[in-house]
């Protein structure tokens, strides 16, 4: 098994831990953090392919990750602000309780 395989398997592990957390936990903050973990797993893939794959343009993988981190930062900020707004409204942050927008 090559290092690339290993890296990809590790990122799969991180992704699925994040997915399981996002699906199972009722606390919205933890759901958001699970999604952050999934994003991190994707970033690991970028770096793994940059490091071990045939890279025609040096540095492309890194640039991808930098942008992804920037967008993830924005996402986390907005997400947590939303959580605080929801908390102020319904006095808890259980995700299954925020169903006001259902049809």
């Amino acid at each position: 098994m090559s290092p690339l395989h290993l890296c990809l398997l590790i990122s799969t592990g991180l992704f699925c831990i994040g997915l399981a957390g996002a699906l199972a936990r009722s606390n919205t903050i933890l759901v958001l953090l699970g999604i952050e973990l999934m994003l991190n797993a994707a970033n690991i893939n970028f770096i793994a392919f940059w490091r071990f794959g045939p890279s025609p343009v040096a540095g492309n993988g890194m640039i991808f990750v930098l942008f992804a981190i920037a967008v993830a930062a924005a996402e986390a900020a907005v997400g947590l602000a939303l959580i605080i707004a929801v908390y102020r409204h319904q006095k808890n942050i259980r995700l299954q309780d925020s169903t006001t927008l259902k049809g």
């Binding site: 699906l23 995700l95 169903t99 259902k102």
Partner: protein, 670 residues
């Protein structure tokens, strides 16, 4: 057995490990945190002794070990460890005093709920301080410097539920930050002009001849040599950390922390970091000494700042009533002495005083801590009194510390180190003002320490707490005894021959200016002691309210001194005011200029919206109503699938992904 420069990292690593153990151990588990802290510190002490042993074999040699930290493209950032007598002596001092203070804390903090955290912070502080000492790179030194500042913040604010402690922690952090900005600028400038931050690097380091020559050769627009400007910027950091005028304001307030912290950080070790820094970069500071054309030498500034601080600290100490604040201002004054020694060209005398001061000031602070602990946190000397008979061990040790600090001749180490500084000041040919300031501070030091002893230990108890005080357990008195023995025994470092100074700098020539100066300073110490006893000892204070005799004689002067010469008010009035005004200006700009523009745009939007609505309602509505009715019908049917549960949506996405992936594989679409 010796310790080489490669394995020097072990010395700070052990306390760091202890801090980590303390951090992750359970809150109730007190013995693990305290035990690992004390054990790590003792092992570090043994290692430091081994390092000292090695360093003394070749005192002139700067053994270093440099390594690459990380590289950014073409440039590589390198750090390193340095082993020379300066580092080794400091390490031994910090670990030894540190171990004793840790043991003392066992007793002093026994009843505190956050006992475990306290030891965690203490170990963390020790690790940062030791890292600072062994650094062979200004960058590593700066990192540890900031960590030391952080530890100090955490420990001053340890009783953070007291608003005064929280404020003091903030003040200490921000005030030292002002100095650190100078230090950082100095580091950046140094890196820019020399391309390296390593102290010694086989000829390429910043403290080695090639760099120093090129730095002192560059002349700036204002006529200063580059090395002078860099040296002064680095000195800014030392001014902040060592509580020198004008950034001394944080040090007395830092006494809000637990007393062992005051002893460890604000007397023995951390505040000495500034002195150590200047001593470490001494070749850089003195690189301009031979240039005749420059308007000012870096060391001249250091000497005058030190002299001002020494005199001012001693003056203010005479008018304080809190036992810890008297000692705090005495620390300010003694640090001024050290800076004075550095400035007049005798860094070895400064380090000598630093080492002896660390022992007797730790002794005094722990003695004060013992008094405070026994008197149920009564710190006002007017309310104490009469403790001489109740706390015999503490009294005896405190008296030894007091005599060492005052410079009582021959038996006490403080006398010898102060002598070394005064001799160096005497031999300085630029100005004799620092010498006079130093001599005046000698009288004042003896005076206020006599006052402190007389008020605290003599007479009769003037409050209920003092009435019921009794001697503390051995875990608190034993460190006192050991420190007291050291405060006396360290005399051997200077007598019969100035051994320590020769070890620090083998090429040093100590010119002896006869015994005249020594006799004069002995007379001055005697004068200070007898003056103090004449004013405070003859007629002992009877009640808490009774006015201070000096206050009676010169109320205006004493009030100003008690108010610490108004530095806090001055800073609040100038720096604070400017800050408030800037904020108000920014607020007005935001509110009126930018806000006005936004409001205008908003009104424009509302107006165009109104126009739009008129067009909409009159012409378009009928057709859209019918379309939307049919959309609403179908929407209601599909909305059943929208449960509103985010978990459900996410689950559907994941399942859909699995199904799609399987379909791709089964369908053979590859």
């Amino acid at each position: 057995m010796t310790l080489s420069a490669q394995s020097l990292w072990l010395i700070p690593a052990l306390p760091l490990l202890a801090a980590a153990i303390g951090a992750i151990s359970a809150r109730k588990n007190r013995s693990i945190a305290a035990g690992s802290a004390i054990l790590a510190m003792s092992i570090s002490f043994v290692l430091s002794c081994l390092a000292l042993n090695g360093a003394l074999l070749a005192p002139a040699n700067h053994a270093f070990f440099n390594f690459d930290w990380f590289d950014l493209g073409a440039t590589t950032v390198r750090l390193g460890f340095l082993l020379d007598p300066l580092t080794a002596f400091m390490c031994v001092m910090v670990t030894f005093v540190g171990t004793l203070i840790f043991i003392f804390s066992l007793g002093y903090m026994k009843e505190d709920a956050n006992f475990k955290q306290f030891f965690c912070f203490l170990s963390f502080f020790a690790a940062a301080m030791l890292g600072l000492l062994i650094a062979n790179s200004l960058l590593l030194l700066f990192i540890c410097w900031e960590l030391v500042g952080l530890a100090s913040y955490l420990l001053i604010g340890f009783w953070f539920h007291k608003p005064s402690a929280a404020a003091a922690a903030k003040k200490a952090f921000i005030t030292t930050r002002i100095g650190d900005l100078g230090l950082l600028l100095g580091i950046l400038w140094l890196y820019d002009s020399s391309g390296s931050l390593l102290f010694y690097d086989g000829g390429h380091g910043v403290l080695e001849l090639a760099t120093l020559t090129s730095l002192s050769g560059q002349t700036l627009a204002c006529g200063l040599a580059a090395s002078t400007a860099i040296g002064l910027l680095i000195f800014c950091g030392a001014v902040g950390k060592s509580g020198q005028f004008p950034l001394h304001v944080w040090l007395p307030d830092a006494m809000e922390g637990p007393t062992p912290v005051s002893a460890l950080i604000h007397a023995a070790t951390m505040v000495a970091a500034g002195v150590f820094l200047v001593a470490r970069v001494y070749p850089l500071m003195s690189a301009d000494a031979l240039l005749a054309a420059v308007p000012v030498h870096a060391l001249t500034v250091v000497a005058f700042i030190g002299a001002i601080t020494a005199l001012m600290g001693a003056l203010i100490a005479c008018a304080q009533n809190d036992i810890k604040r008297v000692l705090a201002f005495s620390t300010v004054s003694q640090l001024g002495y050290m800076m004075l020694a550095l400035g007049v060209g005798s860094w070895t005398a400064a380090i000598f005083h630093l080492l002896t001061h660390a022992f007797f000031k730790a002794l005094l602070f722990l003695g004060a801590g013992s008094v405070i602990h026994a008197a149920h946190h009564e710190q006002d000397i007017r309310s104490l009194g009469g403790l001489r008979t109740k706390m015999k061990v503490t009294f005896a040790n405190f008296a030894i510390g007091m005599m060492a600090l005052s410079g009582v001749p021959f038996l006490f180490s403080g006398f010898w180190s102060k002598e070394a500084i005064l001799h160096a000041a005497h031999g300085w040919n630029v100005s004799s003002l620092p010498l006079y300031a130093g001599l005046a501070a000698v009288v004042l030091t003896a005076f206020y320490m006599t006052r402190l002893i007389a008020e605290t230990f003599f007479g009769k108890a003037r409050s209920e707490h003092a009435e019921h005080a009794h001697e503390n357990s051995a875990v608190m008195t034993l460190p006192l005894v050991i420190l007291a023995v050291c405060a006396m025994a360290l005399s051997f470092l200077a007598w019969p021959s100035p051994w320590l100074q020769h070890q620090l700098d083998p090429e040093l020539q100590i010119e002896t200016s006869g015994h005249g100066l020594m006799i004069l300073s002995i007379i001055l110490v005697g004068a200070g002691l007898s003056l103090g006893w004449w004013i405070y000892g003859r007629k002992l204070r009877q009640t808490v309210q009774q006015r201070d005799p000096l206050n009676h004689a010169a109320p205006a002067v004493m009030a100003a001194l008690a108010n610490r010469l108004g530095f806090d008010e001055l800073y609040a009035g100038t720096v604070g005011r400017v800050n408030t005004l800037t904020a108000a200006f920014a607020n007005a700009l935001d509110r009126w200029v930018i806000g006005g523009l936004v409001n205008f745009l908003a009104h424009l939007g509302v107006f165009s919206g109104g126009v739009n609505r008129q067009i909409d309602e009159d012409n378009l509505n009928g057709g859209f109503d019918r379309v939307s009715a049919s959309i609403r019908g179908s929407g209601q049917r599909y909305s059943k699938a929208q449960t509103g549960e985010a978990h459900g949506y996410l689950r559907v996405i994941a399942i859909a992904f699995i199904v799609l992936a399987l379909a791709l594989v089964m369908g053979g679409v590859r």
